[in-house]
Amino acid sequence: MTYEFYFGDIWKARWLLLDGTLTTLRLSALCMVLSLALAVPAAVARIAGPGWLRGTIYAYVEYVRNTPFLVQIFLVYFGLGMAGIRLNPNGAALIAMTANGAAYTIEIVRAGIVGVDRGQWEAGRVLGLSPVQIYSSIVLPQALKIIYWPLASQFILIMLASSAVSVIATTELSSITYDISTQTFRAFEAYLVTTGIYFALSVAFSAVFSLIFWALFMRRRPA
């Protein structure tokens, strides 16, 4: 028996798929920006903050890294509901993704900060720069360069892992694909197409990250 591929129904649903793709793109990009924005101050606090704050951040990172993302998604979704916060599934998904992504990003940023030579801090100190100035102008720019590629690969993982939020009936690519597969009974074709879309999104993010790297670190530096 040979399987006969039929993509006709998938083609009819192409606009739905495009919608889902754009939602995935938007959720992922927002999650990356928010994760980094939260992780940078949190990583600094994890290193230089008061003891209670260091402990809290440590505990939070350990919670995220040692529990399944899927369970975290439900916890956020139902937790928000119980707290009386009415969010649509995409909003809840963004929060769950950011809560997860930020924790991993904190660890990466922290490794970057620790990787900057201690002498950089000392040179800033004896020039009279304040701790905030040393972090923002000297340590973090160098840390960001050290962690850039690990961070980029973490961000692509964020995008791929976003498929898990389909369990709370979001409208991102995986949810849409699931709906299409159940309505058309062409599950294999649907997921095959979606595989291609995710792959293309990964490649596109990689390309964007390469461009950003070039703009940030290569442009001004002659060979």
Partner: protein, 244 residues
């Protein structure tokens, strides 16, 4: 004697069980050049790192212009850049150009305008002989050039005193002299300097006094002629016989 620019009174510092500084007393007057030497682990670096607050001393007082240095105060001589320091490993900021290395502190700490800071930085880079490298990154320069940039960067804050922590120890031999030449010219211009170094020729040439340290103590202080010709202490003699 006028009020010393820098004065240490009974300064002590330990690292665990190791006594890095043992009740050190030292006065450095305006325009004075003090060379600090001694065997490895004798406390030389700790001494100047305590002055700039990179190490916290547990005991004693360090005064600048007669007033105790309070690192928490915004007007402390460290936080306002009045005491400069040059490191063994240069510690230039690799992501900034040579010019930006020199202007970051004047702009951010002193509130200089960019134009003013850059003009001053170019003057000082010319003074250390590397004005044509201003737009390069530190990684593109030789070690000797990098250390001269580090000196120019410190000078941009117009420090009242400049501290050197083995400034030529990380350099290839052929680059030592270019850095020493810059330091000699600073000394001639009356900069107050404390320099930890093993370059005894340099010490002989510029020092007003040579401080010999061993095991966290200042063992002997003498003008160079007396220090080299007739060291009083046994430990100084042993040290000099090893390095000369």
């Amino acid at each position: 004697m006028d009020t010393p620019v820098l004065e240490m009174r009974q300064v002590a510092k330990r690292f665990g069980a190791f006594q890095a500084l043992a009740n050190v007393d030292l006065k450095v007057g305006r325009g004075e050049r003090v060379i600090v030497c001694g065997p490895s682990g004798s406390g030389k670096s700790t001494l100047i790192r305590c002055i700039v607050g990179l190490e916290q001393h547990e005991h004693g007082t360090i005064l600048f212009d007669g007033a105790p240095i309070d690192l928490r105060s915004r007007t402390s001589p460290i936080r306002s850049g009045q005491i400069g320091m040059v490191f063994q490993q240069f510690n230039l900021f690799p992501h900034l150009t040579v010019l930006q290395n020199c202007t970051i502190a004047p702009i951010k700490v002193r509130g200089s305008t960019r134009a003013e800071a850059e003009r001053k930085a170019r003057d000082l880079l010319a003074r250390v002989g590397i004005e044509d490298q201003a737009d390069k990154f530190p990684g593109q320069l030789s070690g000797g050039q990098q250390q001269r940039v580090a000196i120019a960067r410190a000078l941009c804050m117009q420090p009242r005193a400049l501290l050197f922590d083995e400034p030529t120890s990380a350099l290839d031999p052929e680059m030592v002299q270019e850095v020493l030449n810059v330091m000699v010219s600073l000394a001639r211009d009356g900069m107050t300097m404390i320099c930890v170094t093993h370059e005894m020729g340099f010490a002989r040439e510029v020092a007003d006094r040579i401080v010999f340290m061993d095991r966290g103590e200042i063992v002997e202080v003498a003008p160079p002629a007396a220090f080299f010709a007739a060291p009083k202490n046994e430990r100084t003699r042993a040290f000099l016989s090893r390095i000369l």
